[in-house]
């Protein structure tokens, strides 16, 4: 497969033409924040945190879905990008009800980690304090919509890897939420195999095991690249 050479932050890098700017940035230890992206699942470019500047384009491009091109010059960490990224995180915080101190994922949360990393110590927007539901009907798992950032990792892992497609997104804009089986309580889902992959890929404490209390939920998504490769091998055969 042809190889493209280009620059990231002035550094000469190269990648296969089917790779993304994010892939190559990570290969070269260049940090790019991501929330919806996770290795092993198809990228969707939803969270917009990995936006980069590309010389010659007046638009910001999401690195996770931008394929590498010969001669492109990518900037990953300009002041403008930092400002936008902080603003995105602030909006995620005010749109939900994120209370780290009593969250099952406290200390193991990607949203919390990113906020700390990108220097979001307050929000300039007013908190919306939306009234959101918690579905504790499943005997093993629970979803707290207050903590959901709509990254759709659960939707994708359930469809792409487990093949159950229990999860989906219902509603639009501010009213969007992830649902099980066309918005029935999780306990009544006929498609859920109770595999728990959605729990492990959730970046926050939105999806969690019910036996866990504050700060106890560590997520383990290392199984994902392995399972993805196995599926590809199966399909090839």
């Amino acid at each position: 497969m042809p190889v493209k050479t280009f620059k990231i932050d002035g550094q000469d890098v190269s990648g296969r033409e089917d790779e993304t700017v994010l892939d190559i940035a990570r290969e070269n230890n260049v940090f790019l924040p991501t929330l919806c992206n996770i290795e092993g699942l198809k990228p969707v470019g939803a969270c917009r945190l990995c936006m980069v500047e590309v010389k010659g384009s007046n638009k910001l491009l999401p690195a996770c879905v931008t394929k590498v091109e010969e001669g492109m010059e990518v900037t990953t960490n300009s002041e403008r990008l930092q400002k936008y990224r902080r603003m995105i995180l602030e909006m995620l915080f005010v749109e939900g009800n994120h209370v780290c101190s009593v969250c099952v994922a406290n200390g193991h949360c990607e949203l919390q980690w990113l906020a700390e990393k990108l220097g979001v110590d307050h929000t300039r927007l007013n908190y919306m304090f939306p009234k959101k539901e918690i579905d504790v009907s499943h005997y093993r798992y629970a979803i707290d919509h207050n903590r959901c950032v709509l990254c759709t990792r659960c939707v994708r892992v359930c469809g792409e890897i487990e093949g159950a497609h229990t999860w989906d997104v219902s509603g639009r804009g501010i009213n969007a939420k992830v649902v099980t089986d066309l918005n029935t309580p999780w306990a009544l889902s006929e498609t859920c195999t109770e595999c728990g992959k959605c729990i492990q890929v959730c970046p926050t404490g939105a999806l969690f095991k019910k036996s866990r209390a504050v700060g106890e939920m560590t997520k383990d998504d290392h199984f994902l690249p392995y399972l993805k490769t196995m599926r590809e091998v199966d399909n090839a055969e």
Binding site: E133, V136, A142, V214
Partner: protein
């Protein structure tokens, strides 16, 4: 026409409260109230949450006594699981609960009340704090800090965190005790035991200087409620919940699950804090007190050697004298001594390092009540859940609540005795605050800087003309 003095906020207590004192034209106090001015809403916003979150969520009620809420909440959650939890987990929870009591009592006695007791009620307010105390007697101040540190370190060594630990969970505790933590705690015991004995030696001779305060510091007969063992010794985790009358006679043992049959919660216009009362006697006749005074007035003995001796000396005082809330301070010191000895006993139990510390189960009951003795008195958490374990209803009765009526009445009693409405002096008002401090109320359950809270009091006549102003910055 009535004039009103307002003390807002009351200083050196935990949380925000205010006192109003009504004075008639002759300068006599006609009424006084203690107001709690904040609303927390924990009972309401816990609705819908999975019950397993409750211990940690409820611990956030308080920065001083999060452990008390953890313990009472976890006990309520154990009932929802409807399983027997491992013995070692019970012992570890007991140690944690007692350590919490030691640190909280040390805070109350040394940081919040000792400045009044040691430097005098009329001392310069600028000096009347732990720093002034340090100037006057560095060793005593250091001892107070050390005692609190000991309690906090026990909590940290057990649970990994001094404030808001998440270690107590439904069904037990999340991690076993390590031998290193046990040995570190045991190594500190002789020093803190001696410090407490010295503190009692400092306190007891001082009592005589406060005869006037003892007479009027919420000194009236009330019933008492608290936990106790069947043999009459002290218990803070799972004893019998008992009510005794104003003469100390046994009235009733309450099954926590049926507390609502015996304890009502009245609401007064002047306070966000409810006024619990003993239902069979009605409101407000059903007034009772909880906390160290109640526990030590009810107990026949403490249950550990040194505390037994100290309690015997305390109980040599006449029963009538022990009705004064001033003695909360004394009983707090005895409970610290008991707590240190009890921690040592429990840490030496053979199975204390067992790794089986949590019973795992799902929700098996729809309702649970958890009761424990917090430093300030009986703490009660009551939850109802749906079939999936989501909280549908919660009710909490906090120790400070039980004492609300007694505090309110105590403020009036003290104000009536000390306040001369024609000329206010800071020392008079400090005594009215000091009676509240004897109860060590935990109002918002958050700690505040010592002596830094401003106090502004105006005495006005019926035309609104300011007669006297008192300012504390």
């Amino acid at each position: 026409m009535t004039n009103t003095i307002t003390i807002d906020p009351v200083t050196r207590i935990e949380g925000h409260g205010k006192i109003t004192i009504e004075i008639n034209d002759a300068g006599e106090v006609t009424n006084a109230h203690f107001h709690v001015t904040q609303l927390r809403g924990f009972e309401k916003f816990s609705e819908g949450r999975p019950f397993r979150e409750m211990p940690a969520l409820m611990a956030r009620i308080c920065g001083i006594c999060p452990v008390s809420h953890l313990v009472a909440s976890a006990k309520a959650c154990d009932e929802l699981l409807a399983v027997r939890i491992p013995e070692t987990a019970i012992t570890l929870r007991k140690i944690l609960n007692i350590a919490q009591m030691v640190q909280s009592h040390a805070l109350s006695v040394f940081y919040l009340s000792a400045p009044d007791l040691m430097l005098g009620m009329d001392a310069d307010p600028g000096k009347r704090n732990i720093f002034g105390m340090y100037e006057a007697d560095p060793q005593l101040a250091r001892n107070g800090v050390r005692l609190r540190q000991f309690g906090q370190q026990v909590i940290e060594r057990l649970s990994g965190k001094r404030i808001h630990p998440n270690w107590v969970v439904a069904g037990g505790v999340s991690d076993p005790l390590t031998p290193e933590a046990r040995d570190a705690i045991l190594a500190d015991i002789p020093e803190v035991k001696q410090i407490t004995l010295d503190a009692l030696k400092w306190f007891i001779p001082m009592i005589d200087q406060y005869r006037e305060e003892i007479k009027v510091f919420a000194n009236f007969p009330t019933m008492y409620m608290g936990m106790i063992n069947a043999d009459g010794s002290l218990e803070h985790y799972d004893g019998i919940l008992r009510i005794v009358d104003a003469d100390g006679n046994h009235v009733r043992d309450i099954d926590p699950r049926h507390y609502q049959e015996y304890i009502g919660e009245a609401v007064e216009d002047h306070s966000f804090l409810k006024s619990p009362f003993y239902k069979p006697l009605g409101y407000p006749q059903g007034i009772y007190r909880v906390g160290p005074l109640a526990r030590l007035n009810m107990a026949t003995h403490a249950g550990t050697p040194l505390a037994d001796e100290a309690l015997k000396e305390y109980q040599s005082l006449a029963w009538e004298e022990r009705q004064s809330s001033f003695y909360f301070h004394y009983t707090r010191l005895i409970e610290i001594l008991y707590g240190i000895e009890r921690i040592e006993e429990l840490l030496n139990e053979p199975d204390i390092l067992s790794e089986h510390v949590q019973a795992l189960a799902n929700v098996n009951a729809s309702e649970g009540v958890g009761v424990s003795e917090a430093p300030r008195g009986t703490l009660l958490h009551h939850y109802k859940v749906d079939e999936y374990g989501g909280i549908t209803w919660a009710n909490l009765i906090i120790a400070t609540g039980h004492n609300n009526m007694a505090m309110d009445r105590g403020v009036f009693q003290t104000a009536k005795h000390f306040i001369d409405g024609k000329k206010i002096e800071e020392g008079m008002l400090n005594r009215v605050e000091a009676v509240i401090r004897t109860f060590d109320p935990c109002l918002s359950c958050s700690t505040h800087a010592i002596g830094q809270m401003p106090l502004h009091i105006e005495l006005k006549d019926q035309d609104g003309t300011v007669l006297d102003v008192l300012q504390r910055d």
